[in-house]
Subunit: 445 residues, 2 copies
């Protein structure tokens, strides 16, 4: 076993990440809002000793529900129900800083962390779309404004988690003293976006802070990650791009007083697994044949910020202006891919259908493991965000065939190392900032 | 068995409703943020065939955590974890309309309703305290403003639940049509407090609308209840007061086109149960002896909107001005009680310690059942909000000793009638307002 440990997160997405998954006979789209489906997925992930499961989220009905199985469940609520039927696997929910209040978010994640015994993680997003803004009565804030709010949001939320120091609860029934109120702190935060008095009305989470996850790839996004994130999900198509992103992000940590090991980079990978290479390619072809071009064109139009509905499917992607706000990194990834491989619009849709810009690898468990190993040992990844094309079978195939291969190579755990998500990711538990402050004061005096 | 059915809700409050419960040897205050404690309570309620369990909530650290076990879990998150370990019992969470957005609230309750198979209920509150306002960066809105916002909030939330009609999901995999988008509707709501485009991105909840619950007793509160609520929790000290409240509330329904049976009135009762009367009184005395007067005075000061900390404990409650905004009904209940029974401050604190103004009844299971039966058959209650003084044992005593007595008298169910919370409460499932609109249009054309 190498010193460095590989980390694996299962990205749960309805009945699969391939946009045609819901039409494939392996899946049952009737389960899209059924908790038992997600409980089964969490149990499979735990059987494979995966670090965590993760739910993406948006605050509008995206995409076209005419042609895809949408309308599922809110992540935090769902993860609480998954916590009740699992013991080890981490539970990462996406929650927006643009359309929420820090007090609610701090409290809900603290609650999920208590409920799960220290397995909660927060994928922090700033919600880029207009559709979301229009469900909250505002015009879409600029990219810069969203990140400025997110930064202050994180300052407030982490202070709320810190507002009860670890030793605050005395539970002295004889003396009638439940808590040492000298160790429960108001914040009296007054900032540009928020005024929050505190303290939180939920005691300190078992992990101190639930794990902080992020996925932005813009300049603002990478700085935000370097400052706050402990795990980063990212879409990288080639090893060279993956290495460049990894090096770039890790190099930013020092300016926030952090070491490279304090942030894990987890590129996405959609593994299409077969017991032979031919079987994997057959599954991939079956899924590609179920693509609805009209849906793919809509998805691509949203990704690129341009209406492509009139463009002939068998001609190359036309020249398009870079979008002015947000989504630039996804725009670059997609247009680079189309140019590099000289794809027609139809071919491009096919390439994106599997993972919306994330890397798709079809092959045997050995080949998938080779790819993971190569990126892990070549400075491109600390682990992977696993995006099965169809669910639950694609996750079961990964857990039952790829994980044993990674274990046999000494790359992946055979038992969970710790009780909490932080412990399994190899990350430290933060001390309350109020406690640190008091220690500094007493040292100085 | 009478035609009318009694309904019972278990009000779960930390380790008990008595303010000294955490000091009593029957409880373990170390469980205040432990999901297993609440899972046990939900299982006990289900064993007793109770309609539902209910969690109160506030958005600030209320009371004095120095002298009480506070700092528990956020209700919606917690109830999702309880849904996973129960099958029948309803799950009612308190959520504020003043410090939330309708889109989030609609989505979280829709999710809880899916997760629980149609067992979600929402106790709608408008959050009266300054402490809460200061956690959200605003000054406390007036009572009238809070109810105006709540009314528009409910209009938006119910429309969001209606935005997917029941037949909207086709799941036609062969034709590539997941949903009939003609039956998924934007709201385009533009009002005083909210602009919400919709539709919701979670499909229609199993119950159509999760059960709507409310507990305000002000004039605004009762009108709001008459318009929207399907169950009302209320604090009533005497049978005559209970009858007056019941008659008043039911009489308001007609102006909203509703029948009396469409709203259930559930007064609170804190049953202190003993196998003999003496045993019940002994438990009551043990709890009273554990009261911390300083804590009681603080609680009373908050309830009455006046600082009583300098007032001698063994003199009567002084004359106090009625608070100008909110809390008037609780003020009247408490000052009436003090005058009627000529209580000293210390005695008043003792009387309120058990249920914060709710009725406390100590006695044998038969006596508790007599009280419930009397109110139920005398036009004061459709059921009760059960507030055990200590938890879990107080709930177990109620379920194991009072419930069988009520069943033997033909007052309470021996098996759940339906699968959903609405079915067990005997309430209809709402049709989507969009569906009704279209039917009206097609009839007219």
């Amino acid at each position: 076993m190498t010193e460095r440990r590989l980390h694996l997160n299962a990205f749960l997405m309805g009945v699969g990440h391939h946009e045609a998954a819901w039409r494939h006979p392996e899946t049952d789209p009737g389960l899209i809002a059924d908790v038992r489906h997600y409980q089964e997925l969490a149990r499979i992930a735990e059987r494979g000793r995966l670090d965590s499961v993760f739910l993406a989220d948006g605050l509008a009905l995206w995409g076209n529900v005419r042609h895809n199985a949408l309308g599922g469940l809110e992540p935090l609520t769902l993860l609480a129900a998954l916590a009740a039927v699992t013991e080890h696997v981490g539970l990462i929910a996406t929650v927006s800083t643009t359309y929420n209040e820090p007090f609610h978010v701090a409290r809900k994640f603290a609650s999920l962390d208590h409920i799960s015994g220290g397995r909660a993680g927060w994928n922090i997003v700033t919600s880029a779309t207009e559709a979301e803004a229009h469900n909250f009565g505002i015009e879409r804030p600029s990219h810069g404004d969203r990140y400025a709010r997110a930064t202050e949001f994180l300052e407030v939320v982490t202070k709320l988690w810190d507002s009860w120091e670890d030793g605050a609860i005395l539970n002295d029934r004889a003396a009638g003293r439940y808590a040492d109120t000298g160790r429960i702190h108001a914040l009296d935060h007054v900032g540009t976006h928020f005024r929050v008095r505190g303290p939180l009305n939920t005691s300190r989470p078992p992990q101190g802070h639930p794990l902080l996850v992020q996925a932005g790839s813009s300049e603002d996004g990478k700085e935000f990650a370097a400052r706050f994130a402990e795990a980063v999900f990212t879409a990288q198509q080639t090893l060279a791009e993956g290495q460049a992103f990894y090096t770039d992000l890790k190099s930013r940590l020092a300016r926030y007083g952090r070491r490279p090991g304090e942030l894990l980079v987890l590129p996405g990978i959609s593994p299409i697994i077969g017991s032979t290479h031919e079987e994997a390619l057959r599954l991939e072809r079956e899924l590609q044949d179920l693509i609805i071009p009209e849906y793919g064109v809509q998805q691509l139009s949203t990704m690129l910020g341009a209406d492509l509905s009139g463009h002939p499917l068998d001609e190359p992607l036309p020249e398009l202006p870079e979008p002015s706000d947000g989504q630039q990194s996804r725009f670059k990834l997609v247009t680079d891919l189309a140019r590099r491989e000289r794809l027609t619009l139809r071919q491009l849709i096919g390439r994106l259908a599997g993972g919306r810009g994330h890397r798709v690898v079809a092959g045997t468990p050995e080949l998938i493991a080779d790819q993971i190993q190569e990126w892990f040992t070549s400075g491109a990844a600390d682990g992977f965000n696993i995006m099965p094309p169809v669910l639950p079978s694609g996750l079961a195939d990964f857990v039952d065939h790829v994980v044993p291969e990674l274990q046999a190579r000494g790359l992946f755990r055979t038992e969970y190392e710790g009780r909490t998500l932080r412990q399994n990711y190899g990350l430290a538990r933060p001390v309350s900032s109020f406690e640190q402050f008091e220690q500094k004061v007493s040292v100085a005096s």
